[in-house]
Amino acid sequence: MHLFVIYTVTGITNGMVYAAVALALVMIWRATRIINYAQGAMAMFTTYIALVVIRHGAPYWLGFVVALATGMVLGAVVERVLVRPVESRPPLNAVILSLGVLILLEAVAPMLFGGQTQSFPVPVSNIDLVAGTTQLDISPFDLFTIGAVLIAMLLLFLIFQRTTLGLRMRAAAFNPEISRILGIRVGRMLTLGWGLAALLGALAGMLAAPAVYVYPSNMDEVLVFGFTGAIIGGLESPVGAVIGAVGVGLALSYVSGYVGADLAPLGGFAILIVVLMLRPQGLFSFGRQRQV
């Protein structure tokens, strides 16, 4: 039973990191119908930048802010310069383009920051808390991870649902043509959407780094598990993506705890297949399909 609690806490904590990635993917998917396979690599890159800032003696929080800010700029630049020209082309072009960005970033990172695996600091202790004499199975850093992702999600929700800017962004994603007629700068909204998504990705990179360390492909698995969660939830639904990603986090944690760490990704794959067999559009997508 105690083990179960440990695995559950680990699963939820990791799941929240996957959820940040999943939400970033869903935001971009809903706005531009593109899966950004470079999301993980972009997060890796901004985490390296944070590491450089911290290594030069700056406090963790400055590195944190720098990572999120550069993430947002990187996302906006990638959308404006690279993605915009392929938005109206066949979907596979955007796939290959984002794979190109992924490969380029994973090649440039070791050139700039060195190829060896580096450790990453935590802002608060990652040793489990103790209340009186009982050992709690959650560390301050776990709480920080869960809290940071929850706050980021809440802020995004408020931006999208309660501000005019958010309304414009939703309109631009929902119907670019009409939005343009109504005077919305659709292009700018898409750039901003990519920026916000990349910011969320950068947050995931910062939160994952102490556990997965920092090296050029450190976010590959995080991206795949986030993507798996987003697909299980259904790419149309932000709430579904978060639930799916936390579910993936839990499933991976249980499989690696009870069966073996090597088989965790296979467990994730199995769950993905089972869910998609039952609901090919994911759990929370309710789009109508054209059938004959």
Partner: protein
């Protein structure tokens, strides 16, 4: 004779591939050095897998980001069998690898037939990440992270002056030619037609009586069988089959190769595989001549590959082959315009005998 050739795709392809076989075998035997043969073998291996992926993604419209995992199944089939029964002949290994990977492809295809676009991409991507972890869990069968070592096939006694590189290049090129011959005919056949119908308009295909799901599973099986053959030859080529040989990068490289070469054409698969192998070879030489630090020099080929991908997609949306073709068309048009002649008349019918 020419009537037969014009009417029968099979005969025409047969003749072309026979010619290619003779040229390639002569080149590997008498012209190429060991290093070239080694690289040419790699190109042929990737070309086999990429051709299979072309059928699946380019012709049938199903995106797979997990073909590296299918190659891995082929490679492990060969390596596990060879470690147990070292005396089995090579052809049996190839057939066994094609069979196991084909079965795996049928399973993935059955699951994938209900999935579209990013859902299929995500499922295959999850497979590409999950499968390489399996050998370390079942270390007694698969040799764990160290992998399994096998011996490269030795040339038969009557070819004793052949080096192992030459012999493997022969085998691989022959396997590639047979694969391309089969696929070229398949693509032109009624089955190939159905593949394309499903890609272009699923609803219309269904209305014309095409069993969409069955067609998609068949495309997956064909594609996986190619990946299995490529994986088996890959095992012989590196002689070490370990999980680190089948990273996510391999899967992504195969997909990028077929797009960069020109999606949907088998010759594009060859061109893409050539770029995949030779871009690092050439740029690596260039980078080491610049006296850069090892961190930079080691990653120059990868960075250039990334840039090539991005530029190719932005500049040549139909792949390098399509880009070259459209440039060529532009040049002929310009030439024609400068000469003031109209479009060329259609070539007259060749007289039949």
């Amino acid at each position: 004779m020419s009537t037969v050739l014009r009417r029968s795709t099979l005969a025409r392809h047969g003749l072309v591939f026979l010619g290619l076989a003779i040229v390639l075998l002569l080149l590997t035997s008498f012209v190429f050095d060991s290093y070239t043969n080694y690289n040419v073998t790699e190109v042929a291996i990737y070309a086999i897998a990429a051709a299979g992926l072309t059928v699946l993604t380019g012709i049938n419209g199903q995106v797979s980001l997990g073909h590296g995992a299918l190659m891995m199944i082929g490679a492990y089939t060969t390596s596990v069998l060879l470690t147990r029964y070292p005396d089995l002949p090579l052809i049996l290994m190839l057939v066994a690898s094609i069979a196991t990977t084909g079965i795996a492809g049928a399973i993935v295809g059955l699951a994938g037939a209900r999935l579209r676009g990013p859902y299929l991409a995500g499922a295959t991507l999850a497979l590409a990440v999950a499968l390489p972890q399996v050998p370390s869990h079942f270390a007694s069968v698969f040799g764990g992270n160290q992998g399994l070592t096998i011996v490269a096939p030795a040339p038969p006694a009557f070819l004793s002056n052949f080096s192992p590189e030459q012999w493997l290049a022969w085998i691989t090129l022959l396997a590639a030619l047979i694969t391309f011959f089969v696929l070229a005919n398949l693509v032109r056949s009624a089955t190939g037609q159905r593949f394309r119908m499903v890609r272009d308009n699923e609803v219309a295909a269904r209305l014309s009586g095409v069993d969409v799901a069955r067609t998609q599973v068949l495309a997956f099986v064909v594609s996986a069988a190619c990946a299995g053959l490529a994986g088996s030859l890959f095992a012989y080529w590196v002689t070490l089959t370990s999980p680190s040989g089948f990273t996510l990068n391999l899967s992504l490289s195969l997909l990028t190769a077929i797009v960069i070469g020109g999606l949907g054409s088998l010759s594009g698969a060859v061109l893409g595989s050539f770029i995949l192998v030779y871009l690092p070879v050439w740029t690596g030489g260039f980078a080491s001549s610049l006296n850069l630090s090892s961190n930079v020099a080691n990653n120059v080929p990868l960075a250039i590959y990334g840039i090539v991908l991005i530029v190719a997609i932005l500049v040549f949306p139909r792949g390098v082959a399509g880009g070259v073709a459209s440039i060529a068309r532009g040049v002929t048009r310009a030439l024609r315009a400068s000469r003031g002649t109209g479009p060329l008349p259609a070539a007259p019918e060749a007289p039949s005998q």
